[in-house]
């Protein structure tokens, strides 16, 4: 009951905060468009002159790197926005008041999770639709479903990560150091820029600890004709495990007393 009450309040707050909604839904659209411009700029231009040996510009496999980059944007925004909103609860005193009034911390975390489900779903729909359209990805229904599912679960994991990290921050400023600490390794070590197989063993190991790695394992193979849900199942299970695990840890780390 308490969970539903909190979820309803979070949804009402999200609906009422137009700036926040715009930031959650419109900002990623722009970023993905900038991403398209970046990838276009990286493609070699056709030249009438024969290329000199060893001087070829690299060909960027857009399908392989564009979709993981899109997933990272969803991961980044969901994490940052959810963390900030929860930390705001702390700085405004409403989190403490909820706890003293008699709300259970598990109900607060559960309420936030449910409240964000809708936004995460909407964000995933908008972002994947734009990415597919902009990059002219030729996906069949199975691939589209798989892409939507993986980005959606990733955004839920990001929300859980946000809830977990927010338990360590006393004010908004405390969130800032966590952004590079947690999100930048995801860019470098999970296949967004570099193929993880080409990284040194220790770096590849760190990549395995990050949820984006498992999302990218699926995303990078989505276009393949013989890639099925059964093949993607282990990575899906790990991602769901991250969501459940983070939810559990957050309920342990959320402090009720000072």
């Amino acid at each position: 009951m308490q969970t539903i009450v909190i979820a309803t309040r979070v949804i009402r707050q999200l609906k009422g905060d137009r700036r926040f909604l715009a930031l959650s839904l419109i900002a990623p659209l722009f970023i993905i468009y900038f991403l398209k411009l970046l990838f276009e700029g990286l493609q070699p231009e056709p030249s009438p002159m024969p290329a000199m040996p060893g001087m070829m510009r690299p060909v960027i496999p857009v399908g392989k790197f564009m979709m993981p980059a899109m997933a990272f944007i969803v991961h980044f925004l969901s994490f940052v926005l959810c963390t900030l909103l929860l930390v705001q609860e702390r700085t405004r005193g409403t989190l403490e008041r909820m706890l003293i009034t008699g709300f259970h911390k598990t109900a607060i975390i559960g309420g936030y999770t449910i409240g964000y489900f809708g936004l995460a779903t909407l964000q995933t729909l908008v972002v994947t639709a734009e990415a597919i359209w902009l990059f002219e990805a030729d996906f069949d229904f199975k691939s589209l479903t798989m892409l939507f599912l993986v980005v959606w679960i990733l955004s839920i994991v990001s929300v859980m990560l946000g809830i977990f990290i927010s338990t360590f921050a006393r004010h908004e400023g405390h969130v800032i150091p966590f952004i590079p600490m947690i999100l930048l390794p995801s860019v470098f070590l999970t296949g967004v820029i570099v193929d993880p197989d080409k990284l040194p063993g220790w770096a590849e190991f760190i990549g395995y600890l990050l949820p984006l790695r498992y999302a990218n394992n699926i995303i990078s193979r989505i276009g393949e004709a013989n890639f099925t849900f059964v093949d993607a199942l282990p990575d899906f299970v790990i991602l769901i495990g991250y969501a459940v695990g983070l939810l559990f840890i957050a309920s342990l780390t959320m402090k009720e007393t000072e």
Binding site: Q2, V5, G93, T94, R97, I100, E256, T257, E258
Partner: protein, 281 residues
């Protein structure tokens, strides 16, 4: 049973000592004031009593319950109004109250909210978002949130800070009405004049108790200046501000026809408390 019992409670934040060996008892159905300058430990004490702060040592009991170990049982019976309004600006006054009420199973919540909105003079603005409210109105909503479940004890952390005199008077009238109906009011303030409105006060300074007494007894610890004109000559003398001392002095003076003017000037409670704080340095 006492409403609150604190025994040798201490709490530090790093090197900063917030409370040191504090002990006090609060009888039920009274207005108990926690008076002291900013940083004296008032908020920490209230947070220790509502289970939001874990003391380093010592013990606190509220209605015979441990605020940490028996917090779920206790939270049904207490109301807490923090120093900041701690409300959702996008929600209306009614929905804020309903939201905090929903943490407990209140059968007639809607009805109670309507009543409390009227009680706090918020009926006309009940549906407006709280972010459009003045500071004083937000305090009223915050108080309503703390009272909606009809608690046995209300913990109020500086409820009248930044509130205009008219509203302040209304708040204190409300506190007195609640206390008369058996609710214990545990209120902190840095405004010394509010001490006079309490049944009993504790003066805190740097996390330590300077004094626990009734406001009248605290006032009696001040001084009174008696000025008079006798046979055309102005005279004055200082005496302790107690009624007993005044009677003795007036008897000594002998009020005959030669006295043409008589004035009394007593220290205010603020002057008495400040002089105590200064002496303690």
């Amino acid at each position: 049973m006492l409403a609150v019992r604190i025994t040798s409670l201490s709490k530090s934040f790093g090197k900063n000592r917030a409370l040191h060996e504090v002990s006090l008892d609060v009888p039920p159905g009274s207005i108990y004031g926690l008076i002291g300058p900013n940083g004296s430990g008032k908020t920490t004490m209230i947070k220790s009593l509502v289970g939001a702060s874990k003391p380093d040592s010592g013990k606190a009991e509220v209605l015979g319950l441990d605020p940490l170990l028996q917090r779920w049982e206790l939270r049904k019976q207490i109301g807490y109004m923090p120093q900041v309004p701690a409300l959702y600006g996008d929600l209306s006054a009614r929905n804020n109250i309903l939201f905090f009420a929903s943490s407990r199973r209140i059968k007639d919540a809607e009805e109670r909210v309507t009543k409390i909105l009227s009680f706090t003079g918020l009926s006309d603005r009940a549906s407006d978002p709280v972010r459009t409210f003045s500071g004083g109105m937000q305090k009223r909503v915050s108080l309503a949130c703390a009272m909606i479940h009809e608690p046995r004890i209300l913990f109020l952390d500086e409820p009248t800070a930044a509130v205009d005199p008219e509203l302040k008077r209304k708040f204190w009238e409300l506190f007195r009405k609640l206390a008369d109906s058996g609710v214990t009011i545990f209120v902190s303030t840095h405004l010394m004049d509010e001490a006079m409105l309490c049944d009993r006060v504790t003066i805190l300074k740097d996390g330590e108790i300077l004094l626990v007494d009734t406001p009248q007894n605290i006032l009696a610890k001040g001084k009174m200046k008696i000025s008079f004109v006798r046979s055309g000559e102005k005279q004055s003398l200082m005496i302790p501000a107690s009624p007993e001392a005044l009677v003795i002095e007036l008897q000594k003076l002998g009020l005959g026809n030669s006295v043409s003017e008589l004035r009394f000037e007593s220290d205010s409670i603020e002057e008495v408390v400040l002089s105590m704080i200064q002496k303690s340095r």
